[in-house]
């Protein structure tokens, strides 16, 4: 038994040639591997506007002085708010919020103008429908400055002292979150991680199950080959696909979305290799566990959704509860997002990157080991 080498480069090469040839013939998959990143970029980059404006709002204007009106016009002019309704009572406002007919209710209290001029810092209450934090976040974020500049015109001359900090108005926002500012700068680099995760895990998830379903597994198993040769041979061609995707996204990020690229692109490409390998290893492990292609697909999505939700791509990572952050730390996507954003937007170098890189590498090694262990060399 000992006379056989544990790993044969010749057989690895044989499998590589076979996989490349099959990949070349599978035009549809090939096209999808290129099409998915492009379509997703368009969707996330253009269609999904993460800086929403003209959000429906209601106003409860109990004040009859001029400053209340000034405030309202200013809010309207910011284009974040569209005051579609005027309500008379708080309950009415709550009903509109509950029914989703407005996203905000702006509550300007009685004697607002009077109190303002007296320097009593009257409060303005803004109630926000927080079910979609991404939709309301920016509008709310802009409020503070908005109020101050709006009233600055009215508070001139002898009243100018009212502009001093902490501002003439006590702004109260009723919402339970504190989102990071999300822009396309943030989303497009993040998409690189999301797209790689989805396509890489899926494509290799199908790799072994496809052989099993087509009956070719029996033939492969009858040959003298080692699990590592088969698995490495099967994932390597997809590293190339992964790089093509990275290139497509980087070019689009630059040309279409003008995402700044402060850091080193070669460094990013090296990191991408580790990340791609981690996803491929995960896919191939799924492939050894799943009984058929359908199961492999289901496992892919079972993994993909939480990693997208908990990685900080969809929601601000710091805004999640601690347990969710812990789970999120497991996914390679979480770390990769930080790396990509770090390199592109902040110009991070190797020391910053390394801190996030080792969890991805560890994940890859564990997954690959698991895959090799799980790979059955028999048909039962």
């Amino acid at each position: 038994m000992k006379k056989h080498p544990p790993f044969s480069l010749e057989r690895l090469w044989a499998i590589l040639v076979k996989e490349f040839t099959q990949m070349r013939r599978d035009r549809l998959t090939f096209a999808m591997m290129l099409g998915i990143p492009l379509i997703q970029l368009m969707l996330f980059g253009y269609a999904i506007n993460s800086d929403p404006r003209h959000l429906p709002a209601a106003v409860l204007l109990a004040d009859d002085g001029p400053q209340g009106r000034t405030l309202l016009y200013a809010l309207q002019n910011s284009t974040y708010f569209d005051f579609t309704r005027q309500v008379r009572t708080e309950t009415e406002g709550h009903d509109l919020l509950a029914r989703g007919q407005v996203q905000f209710v702006v509550n300007i209290p009685q004697n607002f103008s009077r109190d303002l001029l007296r320097g009593e810092r009257p409060s303005v209450l803004i109630e926000a429908d927080a079910t979609d934090p991404a939709a309301t976040g920016i509008a709310l974020g802009s409020l503070g400055t908005l109020l101050n500049t709006a009233l600055a015109n009215d508070l001139k001359g002898p009243l100018a002292f009212l502009n001093a900090t902490p501002g003439p108005v006590d702004l109260r926002v009723h919402a339970l979150y504190n989102p990071e500012v999300v822009t396309q700068y943030n989303i497009v680099p993040g998409l690189m991680g999301v797209i790689l995760t989805m396509t890489m895990v899926m494509i290799t998830g199908l790799a072994i199950t496809r052989e099993r379903e087509r009956g070719t597994m029996e033939n492969l198993l009858a040959m003298p080959t080692r699990p590592a040769e088969v698995l490495i041979g099967k994932i390597t061609p997809y590293i190339m696909i992964g790089y093509i995707q990275v290139a497509v996204i980087l070019i689009a990020a630059r040309v279409l979305f003008h995402v700044p690229m402060h850091g080193s692109i070669p460094l990013l490409l090296i990191v991408a290799l580790v990340f791609i390998a981690a996803n491929l290893a995960m896919g191939i492990t799924f492939s050894t566990i799943a009984k058929n292609q359908l199961q492999a697909m289901q496992m892919t999505f079972f993994m993909f959704l939480p990693s997208m939700l908990l990685s900080g791509f969809m929601f601000p990572f710091r805004g999640m509860p601690h347990w969710a952050q812990w789970v999120g730390e497991v996914f390679p996507l979480t770390h990769f997002l930080r790396i990509v954003r770090g390199i592109l937007l902040k110009g991070n170098g190797l020391p910053d990157v390394a801190r996030e890189l080792w969890p991805i590498a560890l994940f890859a090694v564990i997954m690959m080991t698991l895959g090799i262990k799980r790979y059955r060399q028999t048909l039962d």
Binding site: V17, K18, G215, E218
Partner: protein, 308 residues
């Protein structure tokens, strides 16, 4: 002695859940022999072959295959065995030559390019080597599979229904090739459902419901069954067969073309049973039982055989 045996296994057993699919089978195949492996559908032939080349883990059993331990040395066995699966299992999205090339690489064949070229030539596919394997007709797929099994010059070939769906001429060529290779020292274990092919084997084994019922040369197998057979010619054989089947002592009444074979394993009882029917217009003749009579008999009575 043992060197003479390409396959020498005992007690081979495989269970799927609580169903015993291969039950305590012992088999000896001599080097250079063409060994036929027969049995009805689902009798465990494929399962047995898969255990031999390490594709299924045997639940029990021991022995050697080409001198290697059949349980522990499957890697060595795989290197020296060519296994042709029952279902076509080459890559349909690879061309003929790519498939052969892949196999040759996997086995580390020396002079790979030349070996592939020769193999394609022998197949008679020289002009079509670029064609995708998936586009081949069923019979051509079988031929490609056989060629691929031979490319690494194995010492033992396990062929699982290699000629299913192959036309008669190709089948004859195939068997000629097998006999030539066997003469060169290759050993074959071949499953088949064709009687003419069974008769071309040096020795046979017959299994049913996972049990080895009989084995030996064609004559051994026929003698083992102790069958007496009569042939009948004349009109209305179907009705006659129906009546005969009701008689005690008649175990089989099977139509062979325009002839009826009537057999039973108790010669006296059979003779008594058919006596009333031995009149014009039918012509009766006692014949030597054939392999097919024996197999049909085995198939019909195998259940009793192993409950007894």
């Amino acid at each position: 002695m043992a060197d003479d045996l390409a396959i020498d296994v005992r007690g081979m057993t495989k269970r799927f859940g609580d169903r015993t699919v291969v039950n305590d089978i012992a088999l000896q195949v001599r080097t250079g022999e063409i060994y036929g492996f027969l049995g009805p559908n689902g009798s465990g032939k494929t399962t047995f072959i898969r255990m031999l080349c390490g594709l299924l883990r045997a639940d029990a059993g021991s022995g050697t295959c080409l001198g290697f331990d059949v349980i522990n040395d499957s890697e060595d066995i795989k290197r020296n065995v060519g296994y042709m699966t029952q279902r076509f299992s080459f890559w349909e999205d690879l061309s003929i030559s790519e498939n052969l090339d892949f196999v040759a690489r996997m086995y580390g064949v020396k002079n790979r390019v030349e070996a592939v070229r020769q193999s394609i030539e022998r197949l008679g596919l020289a002009g079509r080597q670029k064609q995708l394997a998936g586009e081949l007709s069923g019979g051509w797929k079988q031929r490609l599979a056989l060629a691929a099994c031979l490319i690494h010059q194995p010492k033992l070939l396990l062929l699982d229904e290699p000629t299913a769906g192959v036309d008669p001429k190709a089948r004859r060529d195939f068997w000629e090739q097998i006999h030539t290779l066997a003469a060169e020292g290759l050993t074959f274990l071949i499953t088949t459902h064709y009687m003419d092919e069974a008769e071309r084997c040096h020795r046979l084994a017959y299994i049913s419901y996972g049990n080895l019922l009989t084995h030996g040369t064609v004559d051994d197998v026929i003698n083992h069954v102790h069958l007496t057979t009569w042939s009948v010619t004349g009109p209305d054989l179907i009705q006659l067969a129906e009546q005969l089947r009701k008689q005690p002592g008649v175990q089989l009444a099977v139509a062979f073309g325009n002839m009826l074979h009537v057999s039973g394993d108790d010669a006296a009882a059979l003779e008594k049973a058919i006596a009333p029917f031995r009149k014009a217009p039918h012509e009766w003749q006692r014949i030597r039982s054939g392999l097919e009579d024996a197999f049909i008999h085995l198939m019909e009575h195998s259940k009793d055989n192993f409950s007894a």
